[in-house]
Symmetry: C2
Subunit: 501 residues, 2 copies
Amino acid sequence: MDGGIGKMGRRRFLGAGGAALAAVGGGLALGSAAEPEKWDETYDVLVVGTGFAGLSAAVEARNAGATVLVIDKMPVYGGNSVVNGGDFAAPGNSFQKEAGIEDSPDLMLKDMLKAGLGLNHPELARTVAERANENLEWARDYIGAEFTRLNFHGGHSVKRSVQTVNQSGSELVNKLLGKAQELGAEVVLRTKMDDLVTDASGAVLGLKVRRGYKWPDEASGKAAFFRARRGVVLASGGFSRDTALRMVHDPRLTDEFGSTNHPGATGEALLAACRAGAMDVQMDWIQLGPWTSPDEPGFGYTPQVCERIVGYGLMVDPATGKRFFKETGNRKERADAIIALGHPAVILGDAAAVGSQVVPLGLQKAMETGAVRKFDSLQGLAQAYGIAVEPFLAEVARWNGFVEKKHDPDFDCMIFPDARPTATPPFYAMRLWPRVHHTMGGLVIDKEARVVGFGMKPVAGLYAAGEVAGGVHGAVRLGSVAMADCVIFGRIAGRNAARIA
Amino acid sequence: MDGGIGKMGRRRFLGAGGAALAAVGGGLALGSAAEPEKWDETYDVLVVGTGFAGLSAAVEARNAGATVLVIDKMPVYGGNSVVNGGDFAAPGNSFQKEAGIEDSPDLMLKDMLKAGLGLNHPELARTVAERANENLEWARDYIGAEFTRLNFHGGHSVKRSVQTVNQSGSELVNKLLGKAQELGAEVVLRTKMDDLVTDASGAVLGLKVRRGYKWPDEASGKAAFFRARRGVVLASGGFSRDTALRMVHDPRLTDEFGSTNHPGATGEALLAACRAGAMDVQMDWIQLGPWTSPDEPGFGYTPQVCERIVGYGLMVDPATGKRFFKETGNRKERADAIIALGHPAVILGDAAAVGSQVVPLGLQKAMETGAVRKFDSLQGLAQAYGIAVEPFLAEVARWNGFVEKKHDPDFDCMIFPDARPTATPPFYAMRLWPRVHHTMGGLVIDKEARVVGFGMKPVAGLYAAGEVAGGVHGAVRLGSVAMADCVIFGRIAGRNAARIA
C-alpha cells in the first residue's frame, strides 16, 4: 500500500546540499504520490491542520454538505493558534464604535500595505480588510467565541484588535473545534501528511499520511492513503521552527534565534505541496516578534504586557538609557532596531499604564516567570538593568513631556489620548529580544483560496489558508491580522473545497 | 513523439488565476515530461542559454571530455549578456595593482553581504568573491576577451570592476562562443526548452524542446526530445521582462515599469524546473537599475555615462535643485530614492569629469539619442530641466565644497581622490528613472552549482548558473558582479555536469 514512493523518493536526489540544506527531518517522502490501489479512508474534503484556518474550513465545508476529515500531526489541537494572543483585527467593530474610534477597511488595508512594503497581493489583503469585521462577528455569534477587550498593535493606525476573554487563541480554537465536531466533521491527531496524491494530470486526489505518528519521531506511524472526493485544504501553518528551511530563505536565521512557535511549526507540508506543483512566494520574509523576553522561553507572557504599554511607556537602550525607536512601530521595524543594538532593549510602564492596559492575570504570570519585574522607583529599575541613572531619568522626563503634548518629535511614537506621564510607582519593566514569530511567505493562492502552481494556474483540488499561504501580508504581518486572515481564508477554502467539481 | 505532455499539462489546472496570474505566454507545457520512446538528439551535456554562464559551462564541459549542445530560444546569441556593460568585478586585479588600489576577496564579500542585506547564501557569495580574479584572468588569457578599463560601481568599497574593450558584454560572449565552437560544442538558436524530462525517480534525463521556435510566436516550432547522458545546465537568465511572474513576487512591478533586459528575459525555463521539483528562492528581490533614462528605450547608453560620473558629479531632484541621495549608493538604494521623488532625477558632470571618466564613443551615442545633453552653463542646464536656478547653483557650490574636502556630510557619497569641483564647461546632464534590471532570486543551488529541490537535496542531473540561480546576491546585486557570478558558476556547472555519474 505504501506504493514505494518513499524508496523512489530517496533515489531521486544525490549527495548532500550545503550546510543550510541539511534534511528538514528524517524520512521525508519526496515527490507527489500516485493513486494507490485502495484508499484507506474517503471523505469529500480533507483538511490539514487544526488551527484557526483548518477548523474554520472544516465548519464551512460541513455546512456546504461535505463529509470532512481534519488531520493534525501533533498530539494536541490548534498548532500556533492556541499559543496566539487571541487578538482579531477588525475595522469598524463594535468595541471601536463604543469607544468612538473611527476606522474603515480602507484604513486597515492602507496599514497592511504600508507594513507589507507593497509586496502584499492586493486582492488578498483587501479581502482580509473588507471581511474582517463580518468574520469577527461570525466567530462571536455563530462559533460562540467570547471577545472582551479592544487593543492596539504596532503599525495599525488605530486600536482595532478585539481580544478573546482568556487572552489566547485557544478560546476560538476550542469553540471552532466544538462546532466542527458538532456539525459532524471528524478530527484526528497524530496523523501526518507526507505527500499529496495526484493523478496523471497533476490534480490533487488526496493525501498520503502516516497514522499514529508520534512527533518528533520521523520513523513512527503507518502509511495510509486518504481520498478527498472534492478537495484538500492545506492549513498546516508556517515554518518558523524549521531552521533548515528558514535558512534557505534567510541564512541569518540560524538556531541562535529562538522562536515563539509551537514545535511542530515546520515546513514539510508546504514543501510537499511544492513538490506536487504548487508555487511558493515571498518565503524570505520571516518575521521576528520584537516583544519576546530573553528571560522566559517561547512566546511567553511578556508580549501581552509589552504590547499593551506601547504608546503609554517608553523603550530604552540600557547601554545609553535613551530611547532608540518608536515604541508603536511595526514588528519588523522594532525587531530590526533591537537587533541593531546588539543586546536586549528594556521597556517600562508605570502603575497607571500597566494598571489600565494590562490584564491582571497576564501580568501576574509574566511576573512569576521573572520576565517582568516590579520596582518602587525609576532609580531602582535603572540599577537593576545596568542603566546609567542620570541619563535615564532625563530621558523619562523628556518622554513625559512628549506624553503631555501627545507628540513625539524624536521617533513619532503614537501616544494614546489616555496616556499619562510615566511617574506613578510601582514601575514595571522587561527586557526584549526578538524571536522568529511568523513566516509571511507560503503557497500562492488566489482570492478563492485556490493554490496556484508553477504553471501560473490553480492546481485542481488544492486550497490553502492561514500561515501556509503567502502574499496576504507582504513583507510584514501586522499584529492581530493573522487571526482575521486565518478565519477569512479558512472559511473561503472550506466552502470552495466542498464544491462539487 | 510529443508524448501528450502538452495536452496532459493543459488538463492539469482549472480556471483562471488572479489578475497578476495571467499565463506567462501561450502554450506553456506543464509538469515535467516523461522519457520518450525515442530521443531526437543525444549529448553528454545540454546547456540552456548562450549568455556568459551557458557558454562558460559549454567550454568547461567540452574540456572535461563531454559532448555538448547549447540551445537558445532566441534568434540571436547572448541573451542579456550582450546588452550588459561588460564590467567584471574582481578584487586584486591587475588594473587595481597598477592604480595602487588595495582590495581583497574579503572586502568584496563584505560589500556583497551588505548590499544583499545578509540574505546572500554565504557559501555562494564567498565563491564569487574568492574566485573572481582567477576567472577574470581565465576570461582574458584563455578565452581571449580584452579588458581595458577600471571602473567604479555603486555599493563597492573601491574601484574593482574591469571593463571590456567595447564597453559591452558582447566582447566576452563572442570570444566564449568562438572558444566553445572551436572546442567542438554545438550551439543552436531558435530552440526553446519547454520541459525537463525526468525519470520515475525525478532524476533529469534531458529536455523537451521546440526546434524552429520563432520568438515570440508560442505556436511555432516542432517538439523534440534531447537526451543529456550526464547532465543539464540551466543558464536561461532571469525574468525581468516577465510581467506576470514578477508581479506574483512583487505586485508593484506592473507593465508601467520598463526593463533594461532583452525581450526573451522571461521565466518559463525557471518555472519548468520548479515543476520538475527544483526549489526557488528570494524571487521577490527584483532589482531596478537607477541609471536608465526615460529619454531612451531599454538599457540605453545613459548607464555608461551616469555610472562613470557618480563620485565625480552630483545628482539632484529637479523639483528642489538639491541633492537627495548619495550618488554612489547601491542600485536598490538609489532606485528607491528616485522612485520616492515621484519623478526623474537629474545627474550632471562637467567637462573634466566626463572627459576623464566616460568613454567618448559611449558619450557620443548617448548624446545622439538625446538622453544626455550638453550645456555651456549651469544656468542653461537648470533651465532646460525646469530646475530653479538659484537653489541649484547654491547646491553645486555646496557639493564643490565637499569635493574639495573629499567628504560629503549630507549623504556620505564616496568622492574619488581625482574628483574635481563641477565647474568646467561644458556640462553634461541626463534624467534618470529606474527600470527592472535583474532578478536576484531563482533556483536554489549549492556551491557545486547543483540545483536543490523541494526535498532539500540536489536534483540528480540538474545544474544552474547565472541569473536563473538565486541566493548569490541576496537582496541586491551590486553592479559588475553578474559577469563574475555567471563565469564562475557557469564553469563550475559545466565541469560538474560533465562528470560521469
